[in-house]
């Protein structure tokens, strides 16, 4: 059954550290290189690697398509929601200053939430693109 043991075991070992590194890039984005987009791509690459090595079925078992699309939309809603909340608190759209007790705290919370929304959306768009292209059916109906 196991034709590529090195690949499988390397994937199993690498999977969690890749996601950890993605989270590091996500939350370290204020101080160094990184941010939502890069972190999203790194986290997505872990799931894409899993789906490449263990097959698309196993990948979809690990991360089902409906959860994928739900989280994809949730990231956008989180981004827009922060803007709407700051509007409801009496300032302009995406004005972070009113979100916390002080201006600094507000900026911190706002940037964290918006970057988290961006990361969520980017990672799930990448995974959805991978699923869509791998499952691509040619015009005469046969899967490639």
């Amino acid at each position: 059954m196991d034709k590529n043991p090195i690949l499988r075991i390397a994937t199993k070992i690498l999977f969690a550290p890749i996601i950890l590194f993605g989270l590091y890039v996500q939350f370290h984005g204020d101080f160094g290189p990184g941010g939502g987009f890069q972190a999203g791509v790194i986290v997505a690459s872990a799931f894409i690697l899993y789906a490449i090595v263990f097959g698309l079925e196993k990948g979809k078992e690990l991360f089902p398509l409906n959860i994928n699309l739900f989280l994809l939309a949730l990231g956008g809603i989180l981004y827009g929601g922060v803007g709407i909340v700051s509007m409801l608190l009496g300032d302009e759209f995406l004005s972070y200053n009113v979100l916390g007790s002080s201006k600094q705290a507000g900026q911190h919370i706002g940037i964290l939430l918006v970057e988290f929304g961006v990361g969520l959306t980017v990672s799930n768009v990448m995974i959805a693109l991978f699923y869509a292209f791998v499952d691509f059916k040619s015009s005469n109906g046969e899967t490639k």
Partner: protein, 88 residues
């Protein structure tokens, strides 16, 4: 010191590029592209060390990661004709 390391990187990159151009089989080329990626990772790390900017190590790690995943994907595509199967 930096110059010597960079020259070593450049020479090995040229050798690997020659293998990419001349490569007899597809797998030679894939292996050569993977090696070129590794050399570029070394170059990024060297630059980060020389410029006193340790953040470049993060970029080097990401580059190595994408290099690995890309190689696995290309090899699977060439050996099975699709990314879909489960490698059995």
């Amino acid at each position: 010191m930096f110059l010597a390391a960079l020259t070593a990187c450049a020479v090995s990159a040229l050798l690997v590029l020659a293998r990419i151009i001349l490569g007899k089989t597809t797998f030679d080329r894939v292996l050569a592209v993977n090696s070129l990626g590794t050399i570029i990772v070394i170059g990024i790390a060297l630059h980060g060390f020389y410029a006193n900017r340790p953040e470049f190590l993060d970029i080097a790690i990401v580059y190595a990661l994408i290099n690995f995943i890309g190689t696995v994907a290309i090899l699977k595509l060439f050996s099975t004709g699709s990314l879909k199967g489960n490698n059995k």
